[in-house]
Amino acid sequence: MSKKENKHTASSADTKPGADTMEKEYSTLNLGPTHPATHGIFQNVLKMDGEIIHDAVSTIGYIHRAFEKLAERRPYAQITTLTDRMNYCSSPINNMGWHMTVEKLIKAEMPKRAEYMRVIIMELSRISDHIICNTIIGQDTGATTGFLYLFQWREKIYDIFEDICGARLTTNIGRIGGFDRDFPAKTWDKIRAFVKEYPKALTEFSNLLERNKIFMDRTIKCGPISAERALAYSFTGPNLRAAGVDYDVRVTNPYSSYQDFDFIVPVGTAGDTYDRFMVRQEEMWQSLRIIEQALKNMPDGPTHANVPNFFLPPKEEVYNNMEALIYHFKIVMGETDVPKGEVYHCVEGGNGELGFYLISDGGRTPFRLHFRRPCFIYYQAYPEMIKGGMLSDAILTMSSMNVIAGELDA
């Protein structure tokens, strides 16, 4: 049979060796919004050449809840519950970031004890965020054991949060100005016990995966990005540090007394999945170190700044003192006075620089509140990161980037 040009998709049954006159046709694969391995709902339409990805188009917005418009309707203390639900794996960090933004606006003086307590809570939630991310990377490569082992420790962190604020996941922890009261004594014991016992579990998990040949073969060179491209795409957080840039908001723009603590910022080299995994592992060790230092050097003092506009006065005063009663009423009804101004404050969230841009016109609700969400910004680079790789690498890249749908769409 003469060699004619065969215009059909090359399938393994038909391909004859030397049949290089066949035209390639790309197939479209929909990595749809509902997919077991995508953690959250976002859609990727992939153009595939067999198993290799040629191009990808992302669609997001499947969980758009209009946070920014909601925030224009809510008084300052109620916006904390909105911030919980952005990066819900580490909601205390979001809460504290918002509280610090408002404190910056009203120029509140924070007592040291409140700041150290905040640091402990933020580092605990950073550990819980990295537990989810790393165990899920393990699960996506097939190693479910890490997930089951380490989630026990997340329950312990949930216990600590529940003692302080009453909720496990969407915490709404603390107040604008610190904490309304000191942690109970048994909570301090729980935190100390966690710091003492978690290293064993983390070592166990590390031994399971870090030098495991199968895991390393799967994750090295999977979804790489160079430092220049990462900076061009405004990456922040562990994804940027894995690419080689040592940018950490806690070091460059310290907030809440982070300058008092001694910790290193882990940096990777290749920007691939293995580096992202290892950076998060090391960050968990460093968070433990920070919590130890905070426990050792915990200063005495008030746990709340002097902000009468946001701090509920004690009940004895409310029942006896007219001024306290008026403050109580105004705070609960959300009619507190806030100065006019605009402020931008950023904290190091689980995924990177979480920024709050607040414009206040003096009213009871913000005039404009914008959340600088790290997930939204670095997810743009996803098509570039998976181009040329295989489908299974695309899944692993997505889970290693720790894309949280709540933060993506806000």
Partner: protein, 186 residues
Amino acid sequence: MSKEIQRTKLEIAKSPEGLEGPGFFATKLEDVIGLARANSLWPLPFATSCCGIEFMATMASHYDLARFGMERLSFSPRQADLLMVMGTIAKKMGPTLRQVYEQMAEPRWVLSMGACASSGGIFDTYSVLQGIDRIIPVDVYIPGCPPRPEQVIEGILKIQELAKNESLRRRNAPEYKHLMNSYGME
């Protein structure tokens, strides 16, 4: 040396009422099928946001959900019995949810977990569907934001009760057809 071994009284499943005799057990077909269905539901976790993380905690070893027969999570709607909608459903996601529901084969149950799936939750906005029962019929609602794992387990137990006590003819009855038609489905 033999010691008296204390055997715990394990009850795996309560047997339904029936006539028992040497070598036979006669009961209603409905009861047996209900028992089998209830204790081996295959859930489809449709996790969108924060409630999904609480579901993960419920599946993990502390609040093990596998004890109730939910060991095998099915991500394909064609093989699932129970659609667990966990998290906010935005209007953009509504058609997808409906497509997933329509692909499921009878008998199917729907569990709406969390305030957002039940009624829109705290997100009373232009872009959020105010409750999934606007587009698909729901069997059990679990309130909470997010609900504790114990509440999730209670919701699952209620679904198991529904599955156990369901009549075999329910899905062909005119009332059920009327319910489906009210949602625009056959």
